[in-house]
């Protein structure tokens, strides 16, 4: 049972992705697992940038939460 459930879920996911044909197998993630391929590889830089642009421009956000929480805008 413990091995069947993941297999079923895996099949379900495969079915969901059937028409898109996007994605890789688990053993093909060598590049994707690298630090510099993570969606937010430099969270501190992102937070500092968001804060600067939040303070100086009329719109902000979109990438994640952050940048706000100051009286500068």
């Amino acid at each position: 049972m413990r091995t069947k459930l993941p297999a079923l879920l895996g099949l379900l996911c495969l079915a969901m992705a059937g028409c898109t044909n996007l994605g890789v197998k688990p053993w093909e993630r060598e590049v994707l697992a690298r630090d510099d391929m993570q969606p937010d590889a430099n969270p501190l830089d992102t937070a500092l940038d968001d804060h600067i642009y939040f303070s100086k421009e009329g719109t902000s956000g979109g990438r994640g939460f952050g940048g706000g929480g100051c009286g500068c805008n």
């Binding site: 969901m16 996007l22 994707l32 391929m37 969606p39 719109t59 994640g64 939460f65 100051c70 009286g71």
Partner: protein, 442 residues
């Protein structure tokens, strides 16, 4: 067999963790039990041209992995701000005198120059904490708390989110909500909307036309995201964001110049005898008490044999009619075995808010809302920068980045009066961003 399953599970979890955006730097497929804390520290200097805003900032972000991708993150930022900030008043062909926000003194601006309030200085401390962990195999949960405090502003924020993996963890859907509760406590109390800047009062006095000592602002943010592995070298992220702000959204320090309806020149005023005060008529701005914004954000991350290209685009639109487009790109390429170089470019453009005004004409009815804040005008901005990073043999990394930012605004012709057409000046500026980072493990 069980061991092998665990290994594969670990590999999947590590890879998925990256997709969730919760990965700490240093996450890799192999288990790394040796270090428990990942610590990022940064010193940032931000300096604007012409003696305007300067910010020196120290930040730290520590992430502790308790195993099984249960993570605690703790962040701290301390900012020290000095310099001068545009007040919203326009340049004049005569010397202009203003009462400072505290109401206790005046400052003057030479003829032909854009008025800057030089009493701008602040320090800010921000703290945040977050927790994330997987649950029910394909789900992950995260929650966080943040506070920040300045002498005239306080912020309390809460956020929570959930992610779900599909398609062999090639697709991740995320949903997150954040709430912010802010308090504005302006120097000299909250100005009455469209009230005129008052004369100087003595130490114990309160300026005319001031109301309560604080106002509240609430912000609700909602984010839907999809992260998709496109191929072995390609990652795509799409976000839809919705933001609703309500309460006091006005900038208590910004004013509008009252001008002659024909010439567009500032109206001259003489303070009562023996009293110091403004030499013109300047009205405190007034913005709507709600703002609803929607945004779309797309990001592509592509590996080219160890070189990484990151391209991002954001479109934002709101009911203040500020629409913006942001294009951003980074290209990271290795230099030798342990260093990298990363050029960065960003372009930003926005349209003016419906209530943006360059000035107000004397004798005409006041609009419902008006602000001369250049951040609500038509504006374009560019950033160009480069980052250099080096990883030591022990796995620690230091990096430095240098960036230039240029912002230029434009007042739409429809808001200009008389001679202002062709002579209107915007408080454009250049800024430099210099940052040093050090990343280590404990």
């Amino acid at each position: 067999m069980a061991e092998k399953d665990q290994l594969i599970g670990g590999a999947l979890a590590a890879a998925a963790c990256g997709l969730l955006g919760a990965a700490a730097p240093g996450t890799s497929i192999a288990a790394e039990p040796a270090s428990k804390w990942d610590v990022d520290t940064a010193f940032l200097y931000y300096g604007e041209s012409d003696g305007r805003v300067q910010d020196a900032s120290l930040s730290g972000l520590a992430i502790r992995n308790f195993g099984d991708d249960r993570k605690l993150s703790l962040g701290l930022t301390v900012d020290s701000l000095t310099g001068a900030s545009p007040s919203g008043a326009i340049a004049s062909n005569q010397v202009q005198t203003f009462t400072s926000p505290s109401g206790k003194s005046t400052y003057t601006t030479p003829a032909g120059e854009i008025p800057l309030d030089s009493s701008f200085h602040d320090s800010r401390v921000a703290l945040d904490a977050g927790w994330s962990q997987p649950f029910a195999r394909l789900y992950s949960f995260n929650a966080g708390l943040g506070i920040s405090t300045e002498f005239d502003y306080q912020h309390l924020g809460l956020n929570a989110g959930v992610t779900r993996d599909f398609n062999q963890r090639n697709t991740t859907l995320s949903f997150a909500v954040a709430m912010g509760k802010d308090k504005v406590k302006p120097v000299g109390n909250v100005p009455v909307a469209f009230a005129a800047m008052g004369d100087v009062v003595d130490e114990d006095g309160t300026s005319a036309n001031r109301g309560s000592d604080s106002e509240d602002k609430d912000v609700l943010d909602v984010l839907f995201g999809v992260t998709q592995v496109v191929g072995r070298h390609t990652l795509l992220r799409l976000n839809y964001s919705y933001s609703d702000s309500s309460g006091y959204l006005t900038d208590p320090y910004k004013v509008l110049t009252v001008v002659d309806p024909l010439t567009g020149e500032p109206v001259v005023r003489t303070p009562p005898p023996g009293v110091e005060g403004p030499g013109g008529v300047y009205l405190f701005e007034h913005r709507p008490e709600s703002r609803t914004r929607q945004g779309l954000y797309g990001e592509l991350r592509q590996d080219f044999s160890g070189k990484v290209l990151q391209l991002g685009y954001r479109f934002s639109t709101d009911d203040w009619e500020v629409d913006s487009h942001t294009l951003e790109g980074r290209f990271r390429f290795p230099l030798g075995e342990s260093s990298y170089l990363e050029p960065h470019a960003r372009y930003y453009t926005q349209s003016a808010a419906s209530f943006y005004r360059y000035s107000l004409a004397v004798g005409t009815p006041l609009p419902d809302f008006a602000s001369a804040d250049a951040r609500l005008a038509d504006l374009d901005a560019y950033t160009l920068g480069i980052k250099y990073g080096h990883e030591s043999s022990g796995g620690n990394e230091w990096s430095t980045r240098l960036e230039f930012y240029r912002q230029s605004g434009k007042a739409p012709d429809s808001v200009l009066i008389g001679n202002q057409r062709g002579t209107a000046q915007m408080p454009d500026f250049d800024a430099v961003i210099l940052q040093f980072n050090y990343h280590f493990k404990l």
